[in-house]
Symmetry: C2
Subunit: 194 residues, 2 copies
Amino acid sequence: MYELILKNISRFVTLTPEEIQYFTSTLKEKKLKKRQFLVQEGDVCRSTYFVNKGCLRSYYTDKDGVEHNIQFSIEDWWAGDMASFITQKPSKISVIALEDSDLLVLDRQVQEDVFAKIPKFERFFRNLLQNAFVSAQERILANLSETAEERYLNFRKKYPEMDRRLPQNQIASFLGVTPESLSRIRRAISEKRG
Amino acid sequence: MYELILKNISRFVTLTPEEIQYFTSTLKEKKLKKRQFLVQEGDVCRSTYFVNKGCLRSYYTDKDGVEHNIQFSIEDWWAGDMASFITQKPSKISVIALEDSDLLVLDRQVQEDVFAKIPKFERFFRNLLQNAFVSAQERILANLSETAEERYLNFRKKYPEMDRRLPQNQIASFLGVTPESLSRIRRAISEKRG
DNA sequence: CGTCTATTTGAATGTACTCAAAAGCGGTGG
DNA sequence: CCACCGCTTTTGAGTACATTCAAATAGACG
């Protein structure tokens, strides 16, 4: 149950057995069926979620009702709306399960207790935030300087697992193109390679 | 000299006179002439900079040599490459003065001392990071869901001062369009308004 | 098996781009 | 102070890439 999250955390900070014991005792479980919402636009996001199994997508719905995927969260990723969690303001995005999923839940209040008892967790969550910022920055640059085809090839290289696993129209929404365009891009790529 | 930065900080945390005294004593000054670099691609960014006067731009140079503006920093803003400062890896971006500028410099090492002596500064810098993340997120969404004209109108509304002060080609690069396109967009807008 | 959704394909359209040239503006030196 | 130079902005014409709309095909799931 906790192997994955402990391995995830150990990439940044080292915990003693007691700390592990305490930390895992604060976590709750949550199961989502495909198409169930984890966060709905307008909710205040009061927890962070670790994905033990399954797959979710975070998306923004624009003024024309078009959905734009911001992030996918598969096993070993964190899910939720970090912006809303940080600011405790209503979320502009929604998070929904693309597959039946098992999550571990860390409530905001509990998180404060964890910070108090195990200060290095502050560092861990600062690291998560920093990574999120750096990858947001990189995505802005990619959108400014790369063609749709380049963005797709980079996506495939960076997240091969997601490329295999996710519906193509969801990837298109993440890349910022229509499903039709991504379909044509894929055809062009496969024609180039014979 | 320090009014602006103290006012900036006071938006997030309250400092005692002693803390103010200590904090300001750790700051250095830096003056840049127009067209001088603050950070060059490949540098590790070892300081954060507060803009007391002037204006800078941060930009990324893509594989075709095209520059893409990431951020402008005018008075009362922080400058530098947060990603490189955070990770202490070589910067992918450059920061250059668009006008003669006066900066206050907070070195990374000094920052650690400040955190140790005045822990609430940790909160202050976490807030800066959070804001940077949230606005990066918003920019991704804007690029995905808005037309160039909408992005320009929103830019103008959000940063009227920058719209007045910055060369149009720099704004175009920030919005992710060519200078020619922004020129046409502006004409279209002014024709609509009679 | 049938239904619903995802993907592919085609044709027409549109938005922003490139390239080229003219006009405008600001700073510098004679 | 004015003339010139360099850089920015505007304008025009043609082009490229992705979009929209529509329809056909393929796949997934009950």
